[in-house]
Amino acid sequence: MKYIPTIGLEIHSELSTNSKIFCTCPVSFGGEPNTRCCPVCTGMPGTLPVLNKTAVEYTVKAGLALNCEINSFSKLDRKNYFYPDSPKAYQISQFDLPICKDGGLTINTPEGEKFIRIERIHLEEDAGKLLHDGFDKYSLADYNRCGVPLIEIVTKPDLSSSEEAKEFVEKVRLMLLYSGVSDCRMEEGSMRADVNVSVRPFGTDELGTRTEMKNINSIKAIARSIDSEIRRQSEQLDEGKRIIQETRRWDDNKGESKTLRSKEDAHDYRYFPEPDIVPVTFTKEDIDILRNMLPELPNKRFEKYTTMLGLSESDANLLISSVSLSDFFESTTKECGNPKTASNFIIGEVLRKLNDNGLSSENIPFGGNVLGRLIKMIENEEVTATNAKKVLSDMFDTGKEPEVIVTENGYKVINNTSEVESTVKEILLNNEKAILEYLEGKEKTFGFLMGQCSKSLAGRGNPKVIQEILRNELNKRKGDI
């Protein structure tokens, strides 16, 4: 490779609080324009911001999940700029004393593990939405989104490729989901990224000029835009041209970026401390309380599942893909005592059922302990594996307990040998030809006869028991010949 790319990300994530950051308007997606607004979030004269406690706590939680240090003293600042999506013409954000700093996450690269540093995480308010497509002469401003709390996660320029960026963003997203601070729905805009890219010639140390692409709202687009920009900059340099430091607009449909007209001619934001909001302080105890509220994080769970529970890496990855799924797995395992079985059953059967029904793991209509009981029944040979799948299906559809379903449907495995014996004898009576074939050495016929017995027992026969009795009976017949 002729050029070494350097990538930095600024990830914005909307916090899933009940109310906006500075007012009591609801936070939710969509809706008719200007229906979730009040004088505060629309910047009317005389209004004042009052800081949402949960938004602050969520920022700390996100920071802890991302291994950051929490600043014991933090404050808000005004970032002044004129744009129609910003009703106050300033954004209340954080400048020099953000809530979180100096964190990061480890990602896996072909060269091994790599730690991507997070410089800071700060809290700020989101802006409104501008609509340009409806009218020839006008653009329209909708302020529903004004004041939705956002955290901005700023990395150091540690990423070197689009794959690394993709993995990093996926990991950040998972951490945020686990901490419960955001629903991270990129397609709804609740998580988006600004991408900074530069390249430098191989063998040099000084970073090249970087460009920025803003508000990229899917992980695929993040990767595509990075690759495109690396390519573009490399081509520019090859042609002897210089890279201009600028903001570019990424068009994911066209797969290309264009120079964006800047929001303000001068980017002098004239930051100064927000006089309407007093500073925020944290004691060690405050931070510990919030840390204890975090569930066990995905990387710890992955460790546990692979090293202690003996699951494969791919299975472990599947299970940790959501808090609800891994919690479900853990409570299933707790009940049935066999992590591998639980994992197989969940990945094989439960996930399939969720997919078929278009459900997510948050909507499993029964607890992991209930599934655990079903698994125990399989292990105790009270239900056959085949019938267990039917039981699971019923559990989803009817919400009934597995024991009830088994009884109602008569799935309980027949271990009673006399019933099996009489069935086997009956089958043999009607299948003289098969017996002869078996005795001549055609082992396959055994399977045929097994199937006949099973069917006759409506699948409730314990296969081992059927097998044993069938062999015995057939062996008896040997003596007859």
Binding site: P33, T42, V56, H132, Y138, L140, D142, D265, R270, V280
Partner: protein, 97 residues
């Protein structure tokens, strides 16, 4: 700050503040600003090296609000003072982003 430099700089400041001043106003305000900034410059020589800035006079911290949802205002009320609205939105001259 020489006159011509200060006039240019005030033009720049007026641009930052989004005040489209006409030439007469610009000249008059630039003159005013010269005097006013002259007064402000009297603080330059005071020694404040070991003094902390006071950003909030009351020294209170953590005045936070519980995350309770309240009612929003009706769209009608939100738009009621605007001179130009379309389709329940505030209308501005078309922007190309």
């Amino acid at each position: 700050m020489t006159n011509s430099n200060s006039n240019d700089y005030i033009k720049y400041i007026a641009g930052l503040a989004k005040l489209s001043l006409n030439d007469n106003e610009m000249l008059s305000l630039a003159n005013d600003m010269q005097d006013i900034i002259g007064l402000m410059d009297t603080i330059k020589d005071i020694d404040t090296n070991n003094i902390d800035a006071t950003e909030h006079i009351s020294r209170v911290t953590n005045n936070l609000r519980e995350d309770i949802q309240g009612n929003s205002f009706s769209t009608e009320k939100i738009l009621s003072n605007s001179k130009h609205t379309i389709d329940y939105c505030f209308a501005i001259p078309k922007m190309i982003e």
